[in-house]
């Protein structure tokens, strides 16, 4: 059996290094954000969400979705078609779902004290929620059983259809809201000009969450590779076991083949007898 490519030593070390740097920078962001930076004049302590919420949204809306769309397009393009792009797109989409959900959650946590509601049908919230549903659709498509190539094709096409929709959703929801009422509830007041330590903390937040995304992406990619290897190995094992049942009887016959990963209603004995070209009746002792 071939060893999975991604488990080579160098890439393991790289994943580990990125993971450590991500954790350290995230911890530094938390420390700066919660203890070092001062509270805001208007928003008070609430402003501390600014170090987390925009970076998460950046990862979810641009980095993850962009990577997934890029991977899907490159898989569809016959010249660059390789399993790598399919796995990359799937991993990015799955990690992206986590970040999109976190964007909505942190947004809601921020919205409750500032606007008094958990949820408002604001343009940005609505389009982010739609994005989450589109991403979940991709994951559902991913779960459909079938062979790897057909799945890759379906998912790539699905991602492109959904990806094309994202700007349209964005604009239509924007218009829907802005044409509806003169001024939106959520003016982008939330990103006032910030200075000094606050700006640096925000920047560090962006770096930290980007690193977290990259690390999660790499780990998810490796899990993908490993699960594919495992799937192949299980199939091979099941095949070997069945072949073993079909081998010429060596005194025990096919009846004590033991537990086998048999999917149909057929018993292993029946399969074995069929493989030998016997009639089932002959197997009865």
């Amino acid at each position: 059996m071939t060893r999975p490519v991604a488990s080579s030593k160098r890439s393991t070390r790289l994943v580990r290094i990125i993971g450590v740097v991500a954790v350290v920078s995230l911890a530094a962001t938390v420390w700066l954000g919660l203890w070092v930076t001062p509270p805001d004049k208007t928003q008070g302590q609430l402003v501390r969400l600014v170090y987390i919420h925009p970076p998460i949204a950046w990862v979810a809306l641009y980095l993850a979705f962009g990577t997934a769309a890029l991977g899907s397009v490159l898989w569809l393009w016959p010249r660059t078609r390789s399993r790598f792009w399919d796995r990359l797109a799937a991993s990015a989409m799955e990690v992206g779902v986590v970040f999109t959900a976190l964007t909505l959650v942190t947004g809601a946590i921020w919205g409750r004290p500032t606007w008094g509601v958990w949820w408002a049908w604001d343009a940005r919230l609505t389009s982010t929620a739609l994005l989450l549903v589109l991403q979940l659709g991709y994951l559902a498509l991913r779960r459909v059983p079938g062979d790897a190539d057909a799945r890759a094709r379906r998912c790539a096409v699905g991602a492109v259809i959904a990806g094309v929709d994202v700007p349209i959703v964005h604009f239509s929801v924007d218009w829907w809201k802005t044409l509806h009422q003169g001024a939106t509830v959520l003016n982008p007041d939330l990103t006032p000009t910030i200075h000094g330590i606050m700006a640096w903390t925000l920047l560090l937040g962006f770096v930290a969450l980007t690193l977290v995304f990259v690390w999660m992406l790499m780990v998810r990619y490796r899990i993908q590779v490993l699960s594919e290897v495992l799937e192949g190995a299980e199939l091979e094992m099941a095949l070997h076991e069945r072949w073993a049942e079909g081998a010429p009887p060596d005194g025990h016959g096919a009846t004590d083949a033991g537990p086998v990963a048999v999917v149909d209603e057929e018993t292993p004995a029946q399969v074995g007898s069929r493989a030998r070209g016997e009639q089932p009746a002959e197997l009865v002792p």
Partner: protein, 224 residues
């Protein structure tokens, strides 16, 4: 490409003419949906008139899901998929043909639903031009996305549940824009609203997905 599209659309519409599945099942379903909305909103006319535009488009979206499913159920039996693939027809033509057949069926449904909205909800159409334009552009977009997703889900065992989940979020802009265009045409929207920006949005949506389908449908037909 155009000749192939005509052939495929003709085939689908002929099957529909003979089996009458959409006419006998999907059309009554859409009317039932309208009636259910009326039950949900109560016997008062005012909220129904107010919501008529949105309810019409929601009913159209549901009907579009069913029409798409039907369109690809036709291909599921008797090895039609392989037959189509082996026929040497241009994939872009197949896409346009299937989308056109779905669109024709949806237009018929929309005429019925418009009648339903006017009769049952008491909506008053002020500008027929906007209504017709919104239906035409919105239907083209719905049919294009529906055909793409229908083909995507065609070979899949869980397609009945998968298709609505994939299709409805993607066509959300059609619902938004179609509703606003209709509100402008019915005079139930916010004051001073015109249908024009929404019509152009519907047109852009339709153009984008028709173009995408022409480009990408071939790779859906490859195998599997």
């Amino acid at each position: 490409m155009w000749r192939d599209a005509l052939l495929v659309a003709g085939k689908d519409l002929r099957i529909e003419m003979r089996s009458r599945v959409v006419l006998n099942q999907v059309a009554p379903f859409a009317i039932v949906v309208l009636a259910l909305f009326a039950f949900a909103l109560g016997p008062d006319r005012a909220p129904m008139v107010q919501g008529a535009a949105g309810l019409f488009w929601v009913a159209v979206l549901f009907a579009a899901v069913l029409a798409t499913q039907r369109s690809f159920a036709l291909e599921a039996n008797d090895g039609t998929r392989d037959g189509l693939r082996l026929s040497g027809l241009d994939p872009a033509g197949i896409f346009l043909g299937k989308a056109a057949a779905v669109a024709v069926q949806l237009i018929v449904l929309e005429v019925l639903l418009t009648g339903g909205v006017v009769l049952l909800y008491g909506a008053h159409v002020r500008s027929y031009g906007s209504v017709v334009a919104a239906c035409a552009a919105g239907t083209a977009g719905l049919a294009a996305v529906g055909t793409l997703y229908g083909a995507l889900a065609a070979g899949v065992r869980v397609r009945e549940t998968l298709l609505p989940f994939l299709l409805l979020p993607v066509v959300a802009p059609v619902l938004l824009a179609g509703t606003r265009a209709w509100q402008a045409a019915l005079g139930t929207g916010p004051g001073g609203d015109t249908a024009d920006p929404w019509l152009s949005l519907l047109l852009v949506f339709a153009a984008v997905y028709l173009a995408l389908g022409v480009v990408i449908f071939g790779s859906l037909q490859e195998s599997g």
